[in-house]
Symmetry: C2
Subunit: 278 residues, 2 copies
C-alpha cells in the first residue's frame, strides 16, 4: 500500500466518488522509479502522459505543477515508486464529457517492491496466459485506467516462483507481459511485438529500441507468433521499475541468460535517465 | 451529481484512493430506475451483477445487504436513479488479486434525468459515431467499469438535439448506443446485434427479446451491417432508465415511429417489473 498521497496537491488518501476515474476508468497513469530523490525518465513519462491526454481529450495538467508536486512527495526517498494518476475529474452519471471539470491529479508514493521469486538478475520464470487481449486500436499504446484485461490475465496464477505472464491477443499474436514489455533476440536482431491493436508502449521499451544501435542490434517491431518467440536465442521483459529481467523459463522452454541481454541491461543502467527538467 | 451516497453501508461521498475501482476500473456497475420507492427490475440487475462478479472473479456482495442498503437509500423517492458500483476493494500497486480484500459497495442516488432534446416519446435523433469498438469476448456483455470506449464515442458530439449515438465495431458491425441497446424491425422480425465480442447485454434488451413473442414478432440476434439497419421499417433504443426511445432520425435517414415500437413500449410499461425480492 502507498506510504503517502497527494490529491490535487493536498495530502489526502481519499477521492470523490464522483470522480470519473472510478466511474468509468476515465484517466491515465504513469509508474515512475525513484532513485536518490530523482524521478527516473520523468520527461519521458510526462511525454507519454501528454500523448494519452491528447488521445482521451483530457486537459493535461501543467508540467510545472506535476514536477513540483512529485518532487515534494519524493524528498528524502532513496528508492521508491511514484504512481501518478490523472483523471478527467468529477462528473455526473452520463458518459458525456463534463463542462468545466477540473482534471484530477493523484500521486501515490509506494515502497520499492520486493519479489517473492529471488533475484531476478538470475533469470525469471514466465508463463503463457490463457487470457487473450481484445483489439482496440484507438486505445492501444497509451497507459489508460481501463486495466481489467491485465487484472484478468494476472489472476490466472498464484505460484510465487512465476515472475510474469505473457499475453497473446485473440489472433494469437504475442503482445506483452501483464506489467511489462517483451523483447527477444534471434541471431543479431532484437524483436518486440507491434502494439497497434493492444498493449502499452512502455518507457523502457522505447529506451531499449533506441539503445539497440549501440549494441549493433538490428530492431524489428513486428507481429510475433508464439512459435517465433519460442525459437528465440534470448528473451527479456522490461518496465520502468524492473528495468530488464532476463527470461530463463518461457512456458516449458528453458533459455540461457544471453550476452546481448546482459549488455543491454548494463547499457540501460549506464544511462541514469535523470531528466534535465528536474 | 448524486444526491446521496452509501459507501459500504455508510453515508460517504469519498472512497479510498487504493480502491481498485479507481486504480484499474476493476469492478462492475448497475443503473436502476426508481419508481414510487421501488427498484425496477431489481432481481434482473442483481442477476447480471452476479454474472459479472463471476466473470471477473469478484466475490459477490450479499444480495440481502445490497437490497437492504438500496431500499434505505430510496425511501421516499418517487422517481430517481440508483447507480450501484461493486469493486474488488482496496489493493496495492500490482494487478494480482489482493488477498482478503473486501468488496466495495458504492450506491449513489441521482435525480431522474431531464433531456435537452424535448419529449423522446416523439422520437429521437441518433447519430452514427466514428469511434469503433474493439473486440473483447472475455469482457463482452457484462457491465464492467472499463468504459473509456463509451466516453470516447460520446465525446464526438455536443449538439443537444441529438439523443444518442450508435457505435459500430471495427469490423463495421452495428453494436449498440453509447448508453443503450438498439433494436430494429423489418417486416415482422425484431433484430438486435449479437454481443459476443463487445457491447453490454442490457436488462431492457433482455425484456424486449422476451416480450417479442407477445407481439408475434420473430426475434433475430445477429451480426448487423449498417446497410441492414438503414433499411429498417422501425428502430428504437432502450435501457433501464429511458425505457424505449423510438428513432425518427438515424444518421441521414428519417423514420416513422412504427406501430410495433409503440406496442412494445406499452407492453414494457404494462409490466411494472417490480421484483418479488423487494
Amino acid at each position: 500500500m502507498a506510504i503517502k498521497f497527494l490529491f490535487n496537491g493536498n495530502s489526502s488518501h481519499v477521492i470523490s466518488a464522483h470522480d470519473r476515474g472510478l466511474q468509468f476508468g476515465d484517466g491515465l497513469f504513469e509508474t515512475i522509479a525513484i532513485k536518490n530523490e530523482f524521478l527516473l525518465c520523468w520527461d519521458e513519462h510526462i511525454k507519454r502522459l501528454q500523448l494519452g491526454c491528447s488521445r482521451l481529450k483530457i486537459p493535461m495538467p501543467s508540467e510545472e505543477t506535476l514536477t513540483k508536486e512529485a518532487r515534494s512527495l519524493i524528498s528524502n526517498v532513496e528508492r521508491g515508486v511514484l504512481k501518478l494518476i490523472v483523471t478527467r475529474g468529477e462528473g455526473g452519471r452520463g458518459y458525456a464529457l463534463p463542462l468545466n471539470a477540473e482534471t484530477t491529479r493523484l500521486m501515490s508514493l509506494y515502497p520499492w517492491p520486493e519479489y517473492s521469486f529471488g533475484n531476478p538478475d538470475n533469470g525469471i520464470k514466465v508463463r503463457l496466459c490463457n487470457y487473450r487481449y481484445g483489439h482496440n486500436p484507438a486505445l492501444a499504446g497509451i497507459k489508460h485506467l481501463n486495466r481489467l484485461e491485465q487484472v484478468m490475465a494476472r489472476s490466472e496464477w498464484s505460484d510465487t516462483t512465476i515472475a510474469e505472464g505473457i499475453i497473446l491477443d485473440y489472433e494469437k499474436n504475442v503482445i506483452e507481459g501483464t506489467m511489462s514489455n517483451l523483447f527477444y533476440i534471434k541471431n543479431n536482431t532484437l524483436y518486440t511485438p507491434e502494439l497497434f491493436a493492444c498493449g502499452i508502449n512502455g518507457i523502457i521499451r522505447q529506451k531499449v529500441i533506441t539503445l539497440a544501435a549501440e549494441l549493433n542490434l538490428e530492431v524489428r517491431i513486428d507481429k510475433i507468433s508464439l512459435q517465433r518467440l519460442m525459437d528465440a536465442d534470448e528473451a527479456f521483459m522490461c518496465n520502468s521499475i524492473i528495468g530488464i529481467w532476463p527470461i530463463t523459463l518461457l512456458g516449458e522452454k528453458s533459455l540461457e541468460i544471453g550476452e546481448k541481454t546482459i549488455r543491454m541491461k548494463i547499457l540501460l543502467q549506464k544511462y541514469s535517465f535523470i531528466s534535465e527538467s528536474q
